[in-house]
Amino acid sequence: MSDDSQTGTFLLDDEEIPFTRGQTVIQAARAAGKYIPHLCWHPDFKAHGSCKLCTIKANGRLGAACTLEAQDGMAVENRTPELDDKRRTLLQLLFVEGNHFCPSCEKSGNCVLQATAYDLGMMTPHFDMFYPDRPVDASHPDMLLDFNRCILCELCVQASRDVDGKNVFALSGRGIQSHLIVNAESRRLADTDFSATDRAASICPVGVILKKRVGFAIPIGERTYDAAPISQVDIAKENT
């Protein structure tokens, strides 16, 4: 970014962060190499602020870093024990709401939920597991949907609608009832025009939307978050 587009700076955990007009706190932080934990936000898509993991304190008030626009002179708290504690609770709720068994999940090591939980030092699920009964959709020849692991981040909905122009996925129901569905009368992935080359096929941060028959092809040690925690990997991705 060029200097003349800079419109100000704010403080993130006492460090000065420059931003350009219209940038959100998370965008400016990321550009400056600072990690703010997040799940439903992706740099390529419009923020919708649903997971609340990016919750920060701006001038003493709680807000979502992915939707809050940066303002000159603002003081933002990010990795404080208090905020990380709230984030851990949010993660624990996500873990118990679905069926997440990392040791036998093919997304292990590449999973944003798992990596974030490691980074935040989440040691146990703390709450009672819900053990929801969710089906697997294996109808598509190349792709598998394992709804057990969905965290309702809506990234697949956005990617399919905004990039692929297909609208394969949608969220249905409200609150605790809310769940991901396939936009077909049969509700089967095979009955949509979904393809393994779609952007939506590779967007899922967890292990729901999976390419068939290649699970566990990448050995331990070579997976995305094997060598460094997500707080470093996420930033490195931006700056390479």
């Binding site: 036998s104 999940c105 697997v136 068939k212 566990f216 331990i220």
Partner: protein, 494 residues
């Protein structure tokens, strides 16, 4: 073979002695001794609760997840399940013949598992019984007690186990819950550094394994009255063997022989196991009782594991282990050994074989190969069999066109040994139980007999070397006559 104790005419008229190891993660067991009115052991029931529902849990899952998922079956031998499932799914993806690199890496992983499991069993669980005596002070009967009395032996045991675990880590990616074996091959090869890292210790491991054989052999030969007869009973044997009849714990075809060592069938492709073996269901336990169809349920049950394998093969393809096998066979003077405690001797011969095999494999440059995966014509069904540390392990899957598993059937080593273990406990109980009292001696001897088979019911207690027990003696009206509990610290509470 007789079943006099299995067919009690009026089982409800018999009094019960229940030995109840406390419930734990890997499954737990309970021994019920049914007594007749003369206080004689009349029937034995060994209940082992495990794997219930696990097969249904696999159903509906994508097939490529299964080799990793099945490692949850057992905290002690996860690698065996990892490999057996992979072998079954090799068949499904049309890759019965793997690349040389993939097969050798899997073999190395498997022999690492054999080494660490056998070392764990012998040094942590068995030497306390064998070196201190079955009736020695319980609190001392563990690896800590061994370390105090026999520091060299304890150190060797700990090092052997650790070496086996390192072989697993290097080949599987992690010491537990590795992921490297995948349908059709492996996802990683070894580096030269990894080979050298293991090679520098392997000769020491062979020497210590050799020493372990010497220790158990000496124990056996110094007290034949005990070692030859404790819990002994005749049965058939089953294992896989290589095409030339040699011992091979990773791959081969099925061979069974009778109690006198005569071949019952040989070189049968295990894809056809259902035509050879039937699993009998009994009302009092979830564990099935497999038997050889050609002999029927009464005479067709068999032993698996080290004692079966060492005697079922024609030779062992490594020199030191082969010399020990010959000595073992010579000890039987032309007859197969059926002594329960001979399991330990056979197990240590296998540990030596595993150590020698690991060395051979580590010198093979194929381990650094880059051609790791094969595919072929997709099939709907596959069966994978290996010789796991505890015995023959079957994994059988059917996979739908949508890639989800529709059927899973597992016959684990402990199930294959089910009737054999029941019989061993019966033989021991007949000898050591009398009257109204549950003696420590009875507890100890039953424990030693079960442990010789290294069943999964003791999985969770491996680390402590103790099997928590609860023994209750009741009469036929359910009236409590006597009760003894032994906790994991070896303390008895009346």
């Amino acid at each position: 073979m007789t079943f006099e104790l299995e067919t009690a005419a009026q089982a409800d008229k018999l009094r019960r002695v229940a030995i109840d190891p406390i419930s734990r993660v890997e499954g737990h067991g309970k021994v019920t001794l049914l007594l007749d009115e003369d206080n004689k052991v009349h029937q034995v029931r060994l209940h082992i609760v495990e794997f219930r529902g696990f097969e249904r849990f696999i159903q509906g899952r994508p097939y490529w997840e299964v080799p990793v998922m099945v490692q949850r079956l057992c905290g002690i031998c996860p690698v065996s399940h990892h490999i057996a499932a992979s072998k079954a799914l090799d068949v499904v993806v049309g890759a019965r013949q793997l690349t040389p690199a993939a097969e050798k890496i899997r073999r190395l992983m498997h022999y690492g598992q054999i080494l660490q499991s056998h070392a764990l069993h012998f040094y942590y669980l068995s030497t306390p019984d064998l070196l201190f005596g079955f009736d020695s002070e319980v609190a001392r009967r563990n690896i800590v007690g061994i370390a105090a009395a026999y520091p060299d032996i304890a150190r060797q045991g700990i090092s052997l186990r650790k070496f086996g675990q390192e072989v697993i880590r290097v080949t599987a990616g992690k010491r537990i819950h590795g992921t490297s074996s995948v349908p059709g091959g492996v996802n990683k090869s070894l580096t030269r550094d990894e080979r050298n890292f293991l090679l520098k210790d392997v000769d020491q491991m062979i020497a210590w394994s050799h020493e372990a054989v010497r220790i158990i052999k000496q124990l056996h030969q110094s007290n034949p009255a005990l070692y030859d007869h404790f819990g002994a009973f005749r049965s058939n044997f089953m294992s896989i063997v290589a095409p030339d009849g040699a011992m091979d714990l990773y791959h081969g075809a099925l061979r069974a022989s009778d109690a006198d060592g005569r071949i019952l069938f040989d070189q049968v492709d295990y894809q056809d196991y259902e035509q050879l073996i039937t699993e009998e269901v009994k009302p009092w336990t979830y564990m099935k009782f497999p038997f050889l169809q050609q002999l029927g349920p009464e005479h067709g049950w068999y032993k698996v594991g080290p004692l079966a394998r060492v005697q079922n093969c024609d030779r062992i393809p490594t020199p030191l282990a082969e010399a020990e096998r010959k000595e073992f066979v010579a000890y039987g003077q032309g007859k197969p050994l059926h002594a329960t405690l001979a399991y330990h001797w056979a197990r240590m011969i296998e540990m030596l074989f595993a150590a020698e095999t690991i060395k051979e494999l580590l010198h093979d440059d194929d381990l650094q190969g880059t051609d790791l995966m094969r595919t072929g014509e997709r099939r709907k069904e596959g069966i994978g069999v290996i010789e796991a540390p505890r015995g023959t392990l079957f994994h059988h899957y059917r996979v739908g066109d949508n890639d989800l598993v529709t059927m899973a059937n597992l016959i684990v080593s402990t199930t294959n040994n089910n009737q054999a273990m029941n019989t061993a406990v019966r033989e021991v109980a007949k000898k050591y139980l009398s009257g109204h009292e549950i003696t420590e001696g009875l507890l100890n001897h039953i424990e030693v007999a079960i442990r010789a088979f290294d069943p999964c019911l003791s999985c969770a207690t491996h680390a402590l070397g103790q099997m928590p027990l609860e023994v209750t003696l009741e009469d036929c009206t359910g009236q409590l006559i006597d009760k003894v509990t032994r906790d994991t610290h070896g303390i008895c509470h009346a």
